[in-house]
């Protein structure tokens, strides 16, 4: 087994046993990046020097038999919309092309304290707006499973980096599916945490009531390790909360997680909800087949499959595409060519604004800013924004009702397989429709896991496991059962 195939726990074990050093691990990933990043274009920037320096520091601690922190010597990649002091942070945009992060995002700070080795910054749709990573101002990322196809978005660089063995895990951010969709398209595991579970401080703001940071990794266990390292209240983000511990969760293992009898005991008490509105026209029948066969496997282990209804599904996407651009248009007002980033000269102040923003923002960002500006403008606010917020309430109520009957909801992450690069580029609306199964989760602030459960030809398909607020551990354990019981 090559070093770049190892999971976090395997790297940690190998470092403790001194099978290899942190510098060796770091170098093998850097080598892989050098060989293949040109083709995949997952990384926008590789921080080779900084990474090797940090790895050396960890090796020093290990050689002195000092206690090493949890993620010491384990390399990772960070989506380029999260600040890491001293490194550029572009958000995939020309407007921030030369911006250098002046401080660490809280997640970056936490991972540095845990000994993490940051290999670099990954590509994304500009300001995380997109579902394919084609909207990056610096060029598209390609899907490692088929480089003629998209990796999904917007955290496409992070998911592709994990799939291409450039790193064992990466940070993504999820506003309407941006962790889950690329995880599904690239055949890796992605966790979108409950809103408020992870601090957003230092994450470049997109739609603040929807954005969450989470891990993308090779296994459920690795997602758990990273999530536990970054969760919790942060005084720098007033929307972050103290993470409630569900110590007495009844499905939790008494001892050892991996035994098959434990898997069975988890599943026997489990009620899985299948939203009837999610398996209708628009879904690729091949995707549907893979998802249904995954559900069947849980049923065979003894889970009870219950049909649930989320009647506002159709409207959730429309509400999302009002709320998201509205918040985005407000958040992106800060890019004015005055304080930082690109600045174009003009005769008067208004010309500076018009030129800087006209030149600096790409097509999708401009589109969303304009939709948001329209929805919030005088005379339209009630018909669009306020109405969308009310529909959001109804979407949340749908989930609350469904969760009275079930422990978790299963559905596809995406209605389609990874599509060809360029296929949807000229039709923004068809791109939006890819998000149909993911956006409701952000509107409701719920946690959801994207788990690879099969392939259609060589293309991966992800199952989405949605949980109640702060029940990350439950959906992780449910996902782990699949991982440990069946090979895909």
């Amino acid at each position: 087994m090559s070093l770049t195939e190892l999971t976090i726990s395997q790297i940690k074990e190998g470092l403790e046993k001194k099978d290899f050093s942190a510098q060796e691990i770091c170098r093998s990933f850097l080598k892989k990046i050098k060989e293949k990043n040109k083709e995949v274009f997952a990384f926008l920037k590789v921080a080779e020097e900084e990474a090797l320096l940090k790895a050396k520091e960890v090796d020093g601690l290990i050689s002195k038999n000092r206690e090493v922190p949890l993620l010491a010597g384990v390399p990772l990649a960070v989506k380029d919309n999260m600040l890491a002091e001293g490194l550029g942070c572009t958000a995939g945009s020309k407007i921030l092309e030369n911006y250098i992060a002046p401080y660490d995002a809280t997640v970056v700070k936490k991972i540095k304290e845990a000994g993490g080795v940051i290999l670099g910054k990954t590509n994304l749709d500009e300001f995380a707006m997109g579902s394919s990573t084609e909207n990056s101002a610096f060029g598209p990322t390609r899907n490692p499973h088929d480089v003629s196809r998209v990796p999904g978005g917007s955290s496409g660089g992070s998911a592709a980096a994990v799939a291409a063995e450039f790193c064992p895990y990466a940070f993504g951010s999820d506003t309407g599916g941006s962790i889950r969709l690329p995880s599904s398209f690239c055949g890796v595991v992605g966790l979108k945490p409950t809103y408020g579970a992870v601090s957003r401080y230092g994450l470049i703001a997109f739609a603040s009531s929807l954005d969450q940071i989470g891990p993308i990794a090779r296994s459920v266990e690795d997602c758990r390790i990273v999530f536990n390292a970054i969760k919790g209240k942060d005084e720098m983000d007033s929307t972050s909360v103290e993470y409630p511990e569900f110590k007495n969760w009844k499905l939790k293992a008494k001892s050892g997680r991996s035994s098959s009898s434990h898997c069975n005991s988890i599943i026997k008490d489990l009620k899985i909800g299948i939203p009837k509105e999610y398996f209708v026209k628009g879904i690729d029948p091949e995707v549907e087949k893979v998802i249904k066969s995954a559900v069947k496997k849980y049923e065979e282990l003894g889970a009870e499959i219950v049909e649930v209804s989320l009647p506002h599904t159709d409207y959730a996407l429309a509400a999302y595409y009002i709320i998201n651009p509205s918040e985005a248009s407000a958040n992106l007002a800060r890019y004015d060519g005055i304080k930082y980033g690109l600045s174009m000269d003009g005769k008067e102040l208004i010309d500076v604004y018009l030129k800087t923003r006209g030149e600096g923002f790409g097509a999708e960002v401009r589109r969303r800013i304009m939709i948001g500006t329209y929805a919030l403008s005088a005379g339209y606010y009630e018909a669009y924004y306020l109405r969308a917020q009310k529909v959001r309430t109804q979407v949340i109520k749908d989930f609350e009702k469904a969760f009275q009957k079930v422990d978790a909801i299963f559905c596809p992450v995406s209605p389609v397989l990874p599509f060809k690069i360029g296929e949807k580029a000229d039709d923004p609306l068809s791109m939006y429709l890819v998000d149909v199964y993911t956006v409701s989760v952000n509107l409701a602030g719920l946690p959801a896991l994207s788990l690879p459960v099969g392939f259609v030809k060589e293309l991966p398909v992800g199952l989405q496991i949605i949980g109640k607020p702060f029940e990350e551990e439950k959906i992780l354990q449910i996902g782990e059962v699949f991982e440990k019981t069946w090979k895909i």
Binding site: Y99, I100, P102, Y103, Y195, G196, S209, E235, S238, T239, V241, H312, D314, Y315, A318, A319, Y321, I322, S329, A333, D336, G337, I338, K339, Y340, S343, G346, E348, L349, I350, V352, Y353, L354, R357, G358, E359, F361, R366, R367, M370, I371, T373, Y374, S377, Y384, L386, R387, A388, Q389, K390, V391, R392, T393, Q394, I396, P428, Y432, L443, A444, G445
Partner: protein
């Protein structure tokens, strides 16, 4: 369908400089997105409260104390980023007419 004048108005509100050709492109694209969003009118929202935030937290406060040390160190770096500055201030073009 939006008119060209409407798109021009929105672009100006959003402070986006667009060319003639772009105005036409966005007129079509924004119209098709807004047509899709019209769906929301089918929902009965009478008696429903709006949600602006998925967590039920409010009024998160902190002590009204300073972090002056960290701040003054940071403010230098932050000021460095401004394209135009003078004597420790960010310089902006004249806003009001003389």
């Amino acid at each position: 369908m939006l008119t060209k004048a409407e798109v021009q108005h929105i672009a100006k509100l959003a402070r986006l400089g667009l060319s003639e050709k772009e105005l036409e492109k966005y007129r079509k694209e924004l119209s098709s997105i807004l047509d899709y969003i019209e769906k929301l009118k089918e929902v009965d929202v009478s008696g429903t409260e709006p949600t602006s935030h998925p967590l039920k937290v409010e009024n998160v406060t902190r002590k009204d104390g300073g972090k002056t040390e960290a701040r003054s160190a940071n403010s230098k770096i932050l000021l460095e980023m401004a394209p135009d500055k003078k004597e420790g201030y960010v310089k902006v073009k004249q806003i009001l007419n003389q």
